[in-house]
């Protein structure tokens, strides 16, 4: 079985019922800050009664309070958390019988409710029940068979690996002991008993012992006298293992035993490696659980990237993924790391999106966005670190190449200023960063694949559409019309495009709520050159890049002096065509964006770009 969904209502940011769907194995929750990732993790901990970090005690602020209510207001009356487990095997169906959904017998239901009413001890009344009736017997054993371990963000791994009651090491060793014969004396205990005997033969111990015994008798006399003996204090297994701690050595074992003196205290280790040591201990603990008494294992990790450099992050995640498969552990991870998001099976990604402050976030499981295996493979390979930031964005502007990415970043302040002038009633921010919108360079015209995440439909082979889940943020794409290379289209005399993604413009308009594709006459630079007096600026930029004297330089100089407003569109088209024949796209874009960042530059933005920006910021 595995935890397949969790429905949260009235808890923290969730006012309406919020459904989180999960898959077996690894799950990665991504999303901006405050989107509710940790609240999801905490809700799972609440319903599975995980309490190592003491959060099972609920606080009055955990009850959802609408943001239009004062901070000190009471909050909703009740928190409800409903969890569902799926794929129950035959024997699990028998054991979890009272929790089973009779309509889907491979599914079990577990509910928790907490009333917003404190009793005299300041505790909130909570109720837990299987299936859908609160009444009746609750078999706690069933819940305790679901192992759940939680690793908080920025955990103090060093502390957790120290020797203390309930330390991770102690738990690991106790779990391992359970698999052995319970009646036999554990070899560890035997060894300590022998050690204690030995201890008494030591001269200093002997004399100390004697002295204590004498004083004992002297102080209270023979009648009330007692006997005493010095011992090494820990003689039973549980106590012994609580005194154990972990040490480290910075190189892996090569098989031969390393001299014990070489191992160092954990405080000498780096934070990152300590974190990994900690995780390794926990995975060993989960691995060691008695399988007949454990029906499911859940490991919750918040921000595993903490203190780790990117390569280690990736390695760790891959390891977790392997572990999840191998030991049947359902691992649920929250992260802000594009590195992690980019390095894992895309089906494991779950995105939390805040649409509007104060409203429940929206949960999107990428596996439900309806992509075919072609798209899935594509995204898997192409969703690198720079592109995976789209998972954390409030809006996405997709472009075809580095030139567009560089230039449009500089163009957007122009666009926003112009929009502000044209729409005096509306409030516009300074640039896309302020909007939380990311420009994503697709390095090609792969809109079909990338937009699957946002478009909310799936076009089937027969041309019909079916609705799918989607990440509910605004998304716009800019793509070139790309007619034959020789043509010089103008607004009055456009040419048919050869870009085979153009069909999407209409598909998106008809079927998508938040996703649009915008196109131009020919190419990005060509269309820039056609707009307003842009040819002057662009010719100036190219002029600065031209080192040799000759007809090209002359032509460019002439362009910089032309008043393009008085020229016909065909003349402008000829000039734009010529200019683009003579530039190096990358270098040109670099210099153009630099020029655009200067405050005195006058530049006109083609409509399709304005429209795209206007779409994403809406």
């Amino acid at each position: 079985m595995f935890l397949s969904s969790i429905k949260i209502k009235g808890y923290k940011v969730f006012n309406q019922e919020f459904t989180v769907t999960l898959n077996p194995g690894l799950n990665i929750l991504v999303g901006e800050n405050g989107s509710g990732k940790s609240a999801v993790i905490d809700a799972i901990r609440l319903v599975l009664l995980e309490d190592e970090y003491g959060r099972s005690g609920i606080d009055s602020t955990d009850f959802h309070r609408p943001i239009d209510q004062p901070a000190k207001s009471k909050g909703v009356d009740k928190i409800n958390i409903r969890s569902e487990f799926e794929d129950l095997k035959d024997d699990e169906q028998v054991a979890y019988l009272p929790w089973l959904d009779l309509n889907t017998p491979t599914k079990a239901i577990l509910n928790l409710s907490i009333e917003n009413k404190e009793d005299a001890r300041g505790k909130f009344k909570r109720k837990i029940w299987g299936n859908e009736s609160e009444s009746g017997l609750f078999e706690w054993e069933l819940l305790s068979r679901i192992a759940c371990i939680y690793l908080p963000p920025l955990r103090d791994a060093e502390d957790k690996l120290k020797a203390y009651k309930g330390s991770r090491l102690a738990r690991l060793l106790k779990n391992l002991k359970k698999n052995e014969n319970p009646d036999e004396i554990h070899p560890l205990e035997k060894k300590f008993a022998a050690f204690n005997k030995d201890l008494l033969r030591d001269d200093s111990i002997k004399s100390a012992n004697k002295s204590i015994q004498e004083n004992l008798v002297k102080s209270v006399g023979q009648i009330f006298g007692q006997d005493a003996s010095i011992q090494f204090s820990e003689i039973n297994f549980d106590r012994i293992v609580e005194r154990l701690k972990l040490l480290f050595y910075p190189l892996p074992s090569n098989g031969a035993a390393r001299d014990l003196n070489m191992f160092r205290e954990l405080e000498e280790n780096s934070l990152g490696f300590n974190n990994i040591l900690y995780l390794a201990t926990i995975l060993a603990e989960l691995e060691g659980l008695d399988s007949s008494k454990t029906s499911h294992k859940v490991l919750l990790i918040e921000e595993p990237e903490a203190h780790l450099h990117p390569q280690l992050q990736i390695r760790l995640l891959q390891f977790l993924n392997e572990k999840a498969l191998e030991d049947n552990i359902q691992i649920i991870v929250t992260t802000h790391s594009p590195t992690l998001a980019a390095s894992i099976d895309i089906n494991t990604l779950k995105v939390l999106t805040v649409k509007k402050a104060g409203e429940s976030p929206v949960y999107t499981s990428l596996s439900k966005c309806g992509f075919d295996s072609d798209t899935k493979n594509f995204l898997q390979r192409w969703l690198d670190i720079t592109k995976s930031i789209l998972l954390f964005a409030k809006g996405v502007l997709m472009v075809e190449g580095i030139a567009e990415a560089l230039v449009i970043k500089e163009l957007t302040p122009y666009i926003l200023r112009k929009l502000a002038i044209n729409n005096p009633g509306k409030n516009y921010l300074k640039d896309l960063e302020e909007y939380g919108i990311s420009i994503i360079n697709l390095n090609g015209i792969y809109f079909r694949h990338f937009m699957t995440l946002f478009q909310g439909y799936n076009k089937k082979a027969d041309g019909s559409f079916e609705k799918t889940d989607y990440i509910p943020i605004r998304c716009a794409g800019l793509t070139d019309n790309d007619p034959d290379t020789g043509v010089k289209p103008t607004a009055q005399n456009p040419a048919a495009g050869k870009n085979h993604q153009l069909y999407m413009i209409q598909d998106l308009e008809n079927n998508s709520q938040l996703c649009r594709l915008f196109s131009n006459l020919k190419t990005f630079e060509y269309d820039l050159a056609l707009a307003g007096n842009n040819l002057i600026v662009m010719a100036e930029v190219q002029l600065a890049l031209t080192t040799t004297n000759g007809p090209i330089k002359t032509q460019l100089q002439q362009y910089t002096q032309t008043n393009w407003a008085q020229k016909t569109p065909a003349e402008k088209a000829d000039a734009a065509f010529w200019l683009l024949e003579h530039i190096d796209k990358g270098e040109f874009a670099q210099k153009l964006s630099q020029r655009l960042s200067e405050s005195n530059t006058v530049f006109t933005i083609p409509d399709y770009i304005v429209n795209a920006v206007n779409w994403v910021i809406d």
Partner: protein, 621 residues
Amino acid sequence: MLQNKKYKLLYKIKTCLNCSWEELKRFSDEQAEYINHYLKHSSYLKACPGSGKTEVIGIKSAYEIYKWESENSGIAVVTFTTSAAKELNNRIRKFGAVSSETFPHFIGTFDGWIHNYILQPFAHYLTGYAGKDGDKSIRLVDIESSAGFLSNYTCKDIFRDNRMKPIEVTEYHFDYTWKNITAESDMAKGIFKSGLSQAEIKFLRDKKGDFIKKGFATYSDIEMLCNQLLIRFPYLQKKLAQRFPVIIVDECQDLSNGQINLLELLRSCGTTLHFVGDLNQSIYEFREVNPKDISAYILQKRFVVRQLTNNYRSCQPIVDVTEKIIGTQEPVIGHENQICEQPCILWQYDDNTFTQLPQKFEDLLTANGLDKKKSVILSRGKTTVASLRTQKNEYGYTKSELFAIAFHNWYKSNRTTEDINNALFYFGKALCLLAYGGRGDSRNQYCPETSEHVEWRLLLKQILIDANAVYPYIENGQDLTWTKWVKKLKAFLEPQWELLPNKTYGWAQVVSKLMAPKKKGDLPVKEICTQSGIRNIFRTTTIHSVKGETLNAVLLISHHNKQSSGGHFSHWFKEGDFDEEHIRFAYVAMSRPKYVLVLATPQLKAAELTKLQNLGFFHQP
């Protein structure tokens, strides 16, 4: 059983369970044989009274649980009363086989078992009940409940003699086929006896259906719902059988037909059943329990039958009398010492001497040096001994009487915990009936659904403290009559009504419902608290309530009238025909005592006296 084999078994038990060799050695061959019974075959253990059956089940269950290997399925050990379930639980735990968590096994009442494993988790899949606040629990309604909301489900389509006869939905139940209807209240019994037309049955069925779809059920409906669930969802039937592959039923003589049917549904999916009990002690005919059906079932399904024929409770003369009246063929050996010369005694009473019976019984026990605490006075029905009883029971009080009895209990001069309990209970019940339409938790002073138990009790206490305005039931040195007192009570309650949170009915809606009890308007209120002047130190109760108990001495009193339904001694002693339930009642009563059994009858004719003497009673004039 071979001695060798027996000791081998007992030794094995000693190594795994927490019990001494002394304890184990006491087990007879018959008992050891049963403990060794292989669970893969359904069985019936026929246990005579005092056979130590609970001890045997206790150790058998503990032993099987110890050997049990599956982590996901378990043994259900069920019985029929909470006290018996508690006793079973204690015995099994004593041997250390189960720790605090019983999982995966279940030890408890049959009702609790089906309630927790069938009814509550799954009933809504059958009824389609949408739930309240996300909770789809079935709410169980007491048959005695007079809650206001129930009137929605009252059938008003049945007429007799041109008069509408309203039948409440709690007064009858259907079996799982929805075809056979059974009356529960006297009122319904009367009407059903005259026959119901198909149309009338449909009216009743529709009302019951509405009631159940709204998430309610009476205790009698549970069996029907559970049977239906298992039939409708074969998956559930199969999985439940896997969850409980072994079911041990203690007191199997109390299995109703519906319950047998339910067990058979599981047996047909592989569960084995182990019945333990004594069909001769089956006294639940009113609950559709028929020992003939149980014995037919045992025979039909070829249960392995074993017997316990040693009575460790009673002395031989008592055993002989009891076995004679039930017509046992095989001899039963009584192992208890006979400490009185005459353990079976016959007394005759008349109208004058009846109330002296308790005193006479007390003297007899004193003379024989017997502990009076473990001795009781019994009769078949409540009415026979009503005049000997010193306390009244909860049912049958009107609302104003509930208030009066509550105040009386609260203000008693040397108030005991039980008095406080009673005061809160009756007062809570009265307020709940009036202000909340009876929708309250009867186990918690009728706490309404919207209140916390503790808050409710505190509120009751607060009002009770102020109730000295209407207590004692005297005014100007005169006893208050009901009419006058109810007037005072209303004046007292009106301002208190404001204190009741989330009430369903305001004072204006309630005030007319509070009146003097019928025909008692001019009688003094204080009569409700006066007790009879009889000295009776004994627990005085019905045969039903001492089922399964071991007592030192029993005084069994016959009703004075032969017309009584089963309460007259002549119903108890019949020759040739031992199938009547009356006889089983007498058998249960007379097999309780260890040392002394007294039968008190009205004045006997010579032939009757001889007959009883021949049975083994010693006549004491």
